[in-house]
Structures are given as C-alpha cells and as structure tokens.
Point group: C2
Chain length 723, copies 2
C-alpha cells in the first residue's frame, strides 16, 4: 500500500506502530483459540461481552451506555483515538497524536515542540489541515453479501472479487449517506461489517504542552513504566467555521481513578496478530519484522547525527526521529515475543488442536481442512517477492513525502478514469476524500531531511537487490543515490500545495504532462511497482484472505464467537482494572505522582522538564496522581483512547503501553501487559497550576457539571461554555 | 571475550567477520553429518583427504607438498591469512588485511587509503607496529591429555578444568620452544591439537594500491560478483632489522589460472557453525545474529553521517565504516540462510537421524545420548544472560579503543599476580606476547570518532537494560551518554602509547593507582562485567564445551573422521576448481577482465577507479584476467589466502566470497558458493603497467625462477633479489 510509503509520524500507541516483548507465565493459557481467562479482548460494540463483565464486575453495559461510547469516541485518521469531552466539539487526545499539526504549524520562528501551545480564545485556535477525525455513526453486517459473491472462487481470484464487491458496497453507502463508509474485515474475514463514519476535517489546536513533558524520558522511557508524562492535547472540531455542536461527549472527571477500579478504554487498536497461523507468524519473525527493524535502526543513526548539525536541524528532526524510534522499539518488543522459546511452540500446539478438531468432522475438514497449508504456501510465495514488494510497492526504497505525493498523483492519473470498483483500492470513490485530504493538506517539508531519507532509501534499494539487478541499473544509471535524491528533491515543486492542487484539479492530462522531476521519477518506477503489487495480490494477499476466512469459520464452528477479532483500526472497547505489575522483581505501584517527575528530572535530555514546570513547582501538589497503569488490553492505535469509569466519565487518556504490552500483538499477558495513561487529576493540576489554562478548565468543568453522576445517557443541551 | 570489544577493522574475508545467504538445492545433501558430495571442507593438514583428491583429480598431495604448504602459509593475528612469496620475507596478502597499518601510517598529511603506497627500496618500507604474523611450525595431538583431565567432570566444572589444563600445556610448550603455542579445539572438542607458531612482529609495508581499486564497488559490490578489485598488499617480515630469510615460500605464477583448473587455498578460516546443533543455531538465528545486525545497522547510520562532515572526517571514518559494513553484510547473509524455510528443517532431520543411531547402541546412548538436551538447556541459560553478557563483557556497551586499553590494563593488574593457569584466559602466559603487542602498538585514534562510538554504545546499554536498571543507574548517574563519553575520551591519556607502556611496566600498583578517568571507568564496571562473565562461563560455555565434545565423539563413533572440523582460525587447506555459477538466471563466467573495471567505472563513489588507473588505461591490456571465482570452500579469515595450483605456485589471492558463500557458515553449497580472488595475471599487469613497481616485480620473478616447474619441494637458496 502506498500509504505506508514513508516512515509515518507515530507515537507509542498509534496504529502505525505495531506493538509488543518479554512475558510471563500466562502464555500457555492465552494464545488465540484458547479460552479467555483474563480481562483480555478488543471487543466490537456488536459483540460486547456484557455477560462476562456483569458476572465478574457486576457492571451492566446497557445499550445506552454502549451507544454513548460509540458516539463520543473518535478515530483520528492518522492512526490514533480520541473523544469528545465537551458539547462544543472539544476533543481530547495525545500530544503525539497531533504531531502532523505540530510540524505543520511550526517553523524556525514558532516551535510548538519546544513551547507547546494554548489558545485561550477561539480566535487563537490553530488550523490543523492534516488532521481528520471520524465519528462512528452506524454499523451494518455485510458478511452474507460478501461471502455470497466469493463462494467457490479460486485462491487467486478471491482477492479481486472481494475487493470489487467491497468497493461497490462502500460507494453505494457513501452515495446514499454522504458518510465515510469502510468495510471492516473482522476475524480475518469471518465477518465483514460496514462502518459508517461522519468525517471532520476542520480541526483546530486548542492546547498542547511542551514535548519535553509530553515525551518526558524520551526514547529510554518510551514503553517504560513508571512514567511521568503529560502526553495530552486538546483540539476542537469545527463545522461551517463554528465549533461543532457535539451532544455526545464524555465528561472529564477531575478526581480520576484509584487502584483496583474497573475501567474501560474505547478506541481504535491498529493491528494484532493473535489469530494468525504459525506459518504467518514465522514469516513475521523471520522476514518481515527483522527487515523493518534493521531499516529503521540505520535510519535512526542517520537522523540522530543529522540532528547534531545545529538547533534548526534538531528541531526539524524531532518528529521524524520520534516516529522512527517508536516504531523501532515497538517492533523490537514484538520480536522478543516471536523469538521466545515458548510462544510459537504454544501457538503450534493450539493450532494443531484446532486442526485435529476440524479433521474429526468430515464436513468441516472438507470446507476448512486445507486452509492452513494454503496459508503456509502463501508465505512461501511471499518470501520470494518480499524484498521487491516492500522496496518498490510499500515504498521502502523511496522514503520521501514528495515521492509519496508524486506517486499518488501519477496513480490517480491512471486510476481515476476507470470505474471505481476496478481501481487500486486506495483510489476507489469511497477512499478519495481521505486521499485528497492528505494530498492537499498544508505540509511543511524540509528538503535537507527529504534528501537524507531518499538518499538512504535508494541506497537500500541498491543494497537489497544488488547493483547488477536490472531495475537497479535502470533507476540509477551512472548516478549515486545522493545525486539522484538531491536532484529530485532540489527541483521538484510538489512541496507547494498549490502545485499539487493544480495537478489534482487538472486531472490525468495535467499529471501525465507534468515535467516535475519527481512526477517523472514516480512514473518511471511505476510499472515495475505495479507488477510486483499484482504478484503480491494474486499469489499472497488473495490466498491469505480466502484461507484466513476459512480458518476463522473453522474457529467459529469449533468455539462459537466467544473469541474477539484481531484489531483492525476500528472502534473497540476493552475493560480491566487499575493494577500494577512486577518488574525486575519489584512490585510497581499502578499510579505515579506529579512529584516523581521532578525527582526524575536530571537536567539532561531526555530527562528535562520544561521551564514552565520548573517555575510552577512550588505551586503544585506533588502528591497529585500523574500517570497510571491498568490491565486494559490495548495496542498501537489506542493512543488518545479515553479511559472511562463505569459512569462513562473520562478518568485518563491512554498514551502508551509498557514493554510487556508489546507482546500484545500476539497474545494478552494478564500478569504484565499494562496500558499507561495520563491521570485526569494530574491533568487538571497541570492545566491550572502550570499552564493557567483557565478557560479550558472551565469548559471541561461546565461540560461535566450538567449531569455529574451517573451521566450514563448522552448529555443533551448543556449550557454553552464561556468561550 | 574482551577482544571483541570494539568493532574490529575487518574485510570481506577476515576472521572477525563471520560469513554467509540465499542458496540452492544442494542443501539437503550437505548439512553437517551428511556425507560429503562436493569439493567441500576446510581440512587440517593432519587429516587431509588425499585419497579423495587423488581419486577425483589424480593429484597426489605428497608429504613434501603438505609440508611446504604448512611452512609457506601465514596467519595474520588480526584475522587474516597470507603467504611468503620470496626468500627475502616478502609476504602477499590483501589490502584490507593491513588496514590497521593504513590507519597507523596515515594522517591528514599522508592518506594511504587515497594514494596507496609503494616502497621501491627497503629503506622506504613502513613499519606496521600493529601487525603480527604467525608461521605454523609444528602440530602436536593433545586430545588424550585434555580428555584425560576432564573425564567425569560435571557440566559446570568442565570449562574450568579444561581452561586450566590448556593454559598449562601452552605455557609448558612456550617455555620449552620459545614459540607461540595455541591449543586448537577441533570438532568442538572431538580433538585438541597444540599448534606451535613462530611469531613475527616486525612487519613493514612494501606495496599497497589505492583503496579505490582494492575496494572498487565498495559496499554494493562487497560479497558480490563479477568483481574488479585489486585487493592485494605486500609486506615484508624483518628479523633483527634485516629482511627475514624465508626459504619456505610460494613462487607467484604470472600466468595465473584458467577455468576448470584444480586449485587449493591455504589459510585460516575463522568460524563456521556446520557442526552446531539445532538449538545452538536457533539461538544464533533468534538472538545473537539479530542483536549484532541491529547494533551495526544503527552504528553504520551514525558513521555515514559523520563522514559527511568534511574531508578529514571522511578519511578517518573510512576504515571503521568498512569494518562495520562488512560485518553487517556478512551477518545479514548468514541470517538469510538461518531463516530460510529449508535449512533448519534439514538440519533437524540429520540431527534426529544421528540421535537415533546413537540411541540404538546402549553404550553410545549412555555416553552421548544426553548431550543434545544439555546443549539446548545451555542455550536457554544463554538467553537469560545474553544482553548483559554482550553489553558488559563482550563490551558492546563500551565501544571505544581507549576503553579496550583501559580494561586490558585494569584486568592485567588483577590477573597477572595470579598463577598463569588461574587467570582469565586472555591473560595466561602464552597469550601475553600478543596482548602486549596489541596494547603497545602505535595506534592512531580519533577522539571525535571515539566519542561517537562510545556515546552510541552507552546509549545502547541504557536502551537494552532500561533506564531503571540498577547497573544503568550506577553508570549514568544524572549524566547523558554523550556527556560521559565526551568526558572520558577528552580527558583520558591512554591514546598515548608511552602512557600505556608506563602503566604496563609499572604493573598492578601503577595501574591501580592511576587516576586516568578511562581506567577508573573500566575499573568501576569491572565487577559487574566479571560477574556476568563467570555466569556465562559456568552455565553456558562450560556446558557447551563438554556436550559439544560428546556430540563430536558421537559423530566419530557413527561416521568415523571422514568429516572435517568447523573452522577455528587455524591452518586449513581447501580444494576445488575454477568455476562460475548462476545468478539471477544468468551463468557467470569465472574470470573477469581488467577492461571490465573501466566499464564499471561511473565516476561516482564507490565506482571510481583511482587516477593511476585512468592514466594508465591506454598502456593496459584490457583482456588480462583481473579476478576469478572458484569453488574453494572458504570463509572469513581466508582473506589473503594464496590460491595455489598443483605445483604450489600462487595463481591468485582470495579476497572475498560471493553472497551465497556467506551461507558457508552453516553448509557448503556446491552450486553457488564461490571464493573470489585476484588473478596473478592482472596483478602483474597492474604492478608493471599502473604502478611501475619494477623492483617488486623483479623480486617476484627471481623468486619464481630457480625452480620454475614443478616447484613441488621447498625452494632453497634462491639468488638474492635485486633490492
């Protein structure tokens, strides 16, 4: 997918970062297809385990409660989660979930990373043209429709037929409803649901603390605990130039939570692999993960040295570096689980047990029996084309935002004249609003950094395929990666959004006639990239889709739907209690205090609190809770997820998982997997005592006051906030 | 081992680089413990497969032939091979085998990488204080002695008893013979041989081409073929200030070889893992290799950006970068074999077959049956301590030559007062000459680069163990990796060889009293490092030694000694023919021509021929063979190995293996594994036509003339060369 083209800005728990690490003894009990023993699960609203929760916690998740959860929760299209927290469209999420906006609104004159931002009035709120928010309005089960058209279709054709029908359903839905309509593949095809979203694209920045506190502890503390971070942000959704009226919102509870309390997180976990077969996991362990890890490791070295060149370089490297380090660390954590001595053998046992049960029923055996071997064969095919596919089509060889734009334009020129259901999936009608939103967002690009990443990635192309590979010879001619990159970045005009807009508006003709060197370059490498994509779709993806669906059906046949689907960056609710865990033999308290941040401050990066904190120290109550961990089952994509109490009040915001949570990609380890969140008590203390953000505090208070407890039904018509 | 402390300068085939990659169909036939079908094998002189070669090639390797091979071959203590090629102590090896000397003799005024070097007279030859050469004088079988003392000893004690007896044997030998005496562990303990070497430490540089031709094609062409490199060097051994009289030498044949010809390579392959068990290979695949690869990947990024800072930075980064890139690429190649779908499953089958045969014989089962499980357990233990062991004891956390010196001194202070057989093995009497040679060699260190690598590696320490680890807290206090590194590198005086010498000569008292900050730092981290080393030795190494020995004995019991031992950086002879192979569907010719170098010259790094070549172009015969490949079974450590014809004349110098040869760490793939060598015909053409090195050419010609063919016995008393 060309969307993964450049290393995306990502935070600890954004969907772009897969997740997971070392683990405890729970493994043998909790591999997929084994019964659930802990509070695990990223549950859909349509299959929420009400009975289980009622039995264990005497809490009844009513229809009303679930409806509120659905409508007050938000998906950030960039890979995060968030929630409405006032009736004036105020949204709470993480600092690292708005990093595109930080980049967009920063310059050598205004450094949002360094200084944070706070708009005390509506007029001061800063437009984030790169942010898109989605509110889930409705869910429709389309399993029967899709399984109907693919019945009896061959391995190689399956993907084409499925993609076409998905496109048809989405387009029909979008036309009828004017909503964003996405078919969500649950249980790898066991179920298909059509999710209908209201899209918000006028989003403005209200409050952002300094990066020094949001990422206090930097990379060393990332995925670590205890933590002392204020990784929050507030943005506001506008409609027709006015703050959105948002009757569905979660009031923020200024007291927060206590140890042992039952909590929920709603949000959009990105990807898990808990239902994957052994062959697929082996591929991940042996090929896919190591490839990315090594790619990121060297890139990190380049960016770190680049950042030493001066203050401005350091500033512009901040976000890309964060994205790289975060992705790198999360994959290393995942890999630790994949290579551990027990994980795959336990997985193998449970897979063999499932296959044995299938084999005992002749009908099942006939329908599902061949799926595992077919999946294994698909992984063998993938091994053959993996390098070329990731380099050319995933775009690891062309790590440049300008290239990404160029490819989007070049492909749009070829795809848009076709009927929607015959296009590459990212150009189908239903995907175009998001595509244009991204392509035409105001973006701030740094040629030095673009040249660095493109030089690096072109070097990787030559390194991986060898200098004698025909495609490499064609791309390079006599030139070096550096020369090619410098020339393309130096002379392309695509960093100007007006140029991109003109090309987009001009359509195929304008794009194909463009002499922009990056457009020409993207065109030159497109045939080979498309060829490898076709090969991938036919011999890998299609076979995977068909046979994963069969494995899921086998699982339903044997176990029913007591199992939850793998994460798909769509709305899920997870539950658990506020609990510590053991690390290096020590029991860690589930809650950290504001005073701890000052103790951890060494004055050396990355353990440096911002000046605002140091100045406010005497005014602050050190015993205020700042962060907390809970046994919520979350992964990347849950960043910004509200942590709710039984009354659906916000008591925290998830911003990270601990190291053992990285293993959550593959299984949930009740003993150590913990979500890390900002405690709302610390949040209020900081907003008041450090940032003097009194209008914001007041808006939150007013939003919470009309229905203090229990606000289990949507708050309606609250009095207008002061602003 | 502290010897692997800093990333060593290494070339394609130096022993410091392990080796190996993609592979063909020969796999199932050639995993260890399966019969040998191809010309594979790194044979010892004591078990040379004369019969097999006689049958297949009608060549009789006489005692005389083998004796000559033994005495004219050389081991470079830095991880390379070489050979005497004249009776005046002239030695031929690779350019990349003398890189320490390049660094030592280069400065911002004299750049040997850029300009090469040639001394037309003895007086101009440059002292390489960092080079040590070893000539194998005698081999003694000490298997019975060592197996005698370890009989019945427990898993945990085995290593201690073995180390003590080895130290005793070596010291006794060194005392009696004044030679360097090393016990070589063959077949992982199936046999133990005492190798007695004459040490040469006065080595001077005679001829070195420009790095641009020696490494033509740079990293992209490393482990690649076709190749166009002049990766050669000539040094001369001196004794008492005069050129050594070296009656045992190989004449250089100026015609070289033709396709199909039988050839031999003598040299010191570093490490192979062909006899390792599945559990050991899994550890390598899952933990050890990935850890180094990722470490090197990021370090590479740092050094590459550092090299962009200016011409001087580029110059001083050349050798470290080369070492990192070469090691990295060779490990990536190895890893490709380890994760391939067939390799480990084939290995598992052959291991199971061997275990089944052992189980059928009650006596064997009793003696050897438990070895595989014991080895698997040792790998589980290793997983637990691996991170700390590599960081602290292997020294991955302290990547700095100054630290390396400091640790050598600190440990010497503690070890030397003990009896030799109770010291850490690198401080036993027999090891001291090499240790002091290294410690007291003139070395050129660059503080900027030292600070970079130490900052990087300290960062890795914090990253791997986490900022809350007690040892990390102790090492760092409130400081950043950069501050610590800058302070240590900036204020230590250990870069001055006189300071090191004074400390060494002053003994324990002087060292322990030293206030040099790096000495104090090395002292501060030593207790923890030694603790993890002890744990490693007792719970891993000792168990591995004992049980690997049992596996080897089982193999001998079942198969006899028709199998060759894994490489151990000791003298081996391998044989094969000059043959091409298939790559990307194309059959590659085994010989490349000088003219091809000019065709591959693009004028862009790393495809830039030196000015001397471009200037000489019209004088050169383009059809002269320059490089060639042969099916010689070589790995890292074979760099500089002479390629010999039946008459024991040098027809080439091994300088690399192709990508498939990287898999040679684990099995020999006859269809694709090839050694890459400089052809002597091209060598003479270059020496004459490009470098006008007429005295050197004359010395080589004179050396070859007294016994032009067949010089199958040692050439004696040749007329003195002109110089």
């Amino acid at each position: 997918m060309s969307t993964a083209l450049h290393v995306p800005p990502a935070g600890p728990n954004r969907a772009t970062s897969c997740r997971m690490a070392s683990f405890g003894t729970a493994l043998l009990l909790s591999v997929a297809a084994a019964p659930l023993h802990a509070d695990e699960g990223m549950w859909t609203l349509t299959d929420f385990p009400r009975e289980r929760i009622l039995r264990k916690y005497e809490f009844n998740a009513s229809d009303e409660w679930l409806k509120k959860v659905q409508l007050a929760s938000l998906r950030l299209a960039n890979g995060c989660s968030g929630a409405f927290v006032s009736p004036q469209g105020l949204v709470m999420s993480n600092h690292h979930c708005v990093s595109e906006c930080i980049v967009e609104q920063s310059s050598s004159q205004r450094d949002l990373n360094k200084n944070g931002y706070y708009a005390a009035t509506l007029a001061g709120e800063l437009k984030c043209s790169s942010l898109e928010l989605n509110q889930l309005i409705d869910i429709e089960d389309v399993t029967a429709k899709l399984q109907g058209v693919t019945r009896g279709v061959s391995d190689g054709e399956f993907g084409v037929v499925l993609r076409r029908e998905i496109s048809r359903l989405e387009t029909a839905c979008a036309t009828a409803t004017k909503l964003r309509c996405d078919v969500v593949t649950l249980y790898h095809g066991g179920k298909y649901h059509l999710y209908k979203y209201r899209r918000f694209s006028d989003v403005r920045l209200v409050f952002l603390p300094e990066t020094a506190t949001a990422r206090f502890g930097g990379d060393p503390d990332n995925f670590n605990y205890p933590r002392y971070s204020l990784d929050v942000s507030f943005v506001r959704v506008y409609e027709n130039g006015q703050p959105l009226k948002s009757p569905h919102y979660f009031p923020v509870n200024p007291v927060g939570v206590a140890p042992g309390e039952l909590v929920f997180a709603t949000g959009n976990p990105g990807t898990t692999q808990r239902l994957m077969t052994v062959a697929q996991l082996e591929f991940l362990r042996d090929v896919a993960n190591p490839e990315v890890i090594v790619y990121l490791a060297e890139l990190r070295g380049h960016i770190l040295e680049f950042a030493k060149l001066g203050a401005e370089q350091r500033r512009i490297a901040t976000e890309p570096l964060y994205g790289v380090e975060n992705w790198y660390k999360s994959l290393l954590g995942q890999q630790e689980t994949l290579v551990s001595r027990n994980f795959l053998s336990a997985k193998r046992s449970s897979e063999e047990a499932l296959r044995a049960q299938v084999a005992q029923n002749p009908d099942w055996q006939k329908r599902f029996g061949g799926a595992w071997d077919a999946l294994a064969r698909s992984q063998d095919e993938l091994r053959k084309i993996y390098k070329e596919h990731t380099l050319l089509e995933v775009g690891r060889a062309f790590n440049s935002t300008l290239f990404h734009y160029a490819r989007q334009l070049v492909r749009a020129a070829e795809e848009l004249p076709k009927p929607s259901d015959q296009r590459l999936t990212e150009y189908r009608d239903s995907a175009l609003p998001s595509l244009t939103h991204e392509l035409l967002a105001r973006s701030t690009l740094y040629p030095q950094l673009e040249a660095l990443t493109l030089t690096y990635s072109l070097g990787k192309l030559r390194e991986a395929l060898g200098p004698n590979h025909p495609f490499v010879k064609e791309v390079f001619g006599p030139y070096s990666p550096e020369e090619i990159a410098r020339n393309l970045i130096g002379s392309s005009r695509l960093s100007d959004v007006a140029v991109r807009k003109a090309l987009w508006d001009g359509g195929s003709k304008a794009i194909l006639a463009s002499t922009d060197p990056m457009i020409r370059f993207a065109k030159a490498v497109d045939a080979q990239s498309r060829m490898i994509r076709r090969q991938y779709q036919d011999s890998v993806e299609s076979v995977e889709k068909k046979n994963s669906e069969l494995v899921a059906q086998a699982l339903f046949a044997v176990q029913g739907t007591s199992v939850y689907p793998d994460a798909t960056f769509s709305l899920r609710v997870t539950y658990g209690t506020v609990r510590g865990y053991k690390d290096m033999g020590m029991e860690l308290s589930p809650i950290t205090l504001l005073g701890g941040a000052f103790e951890r401050h060494t004055g050396r990066e990355p353990f440096v609190l911002p000046a605002s904190w140091l100045a406010a120290k005497s005014r602050l109550k050190g015993s205020t809770p700042l962060n907390f961990v809970s046994a919520l089952d979350i992964v990347g994509g849950n960043s910004g997820s509200p942590v709710l109490n039984r009354d659906a009040q916000v008591v925290g915001t998830v911003f990270d998982g601990n190291l053992p949570s990285l293993g959550g990609a593959f299984f949930y380890d009740d003993t150590a997997n913990r979500a890390v969140a900002v405690h709302t008590s610390g949040l209020f203390e900081a907003l008041r005592g450090i940032y003097q953000a009194h209008p914001l505090v007041k808006e939150l208070q007013l939003a919470a006051s009309p229905a203090p407890s229990p606000p289990a039904r949507p708050a309606t018509a609250p009095p207008p906030g002061k602003r």
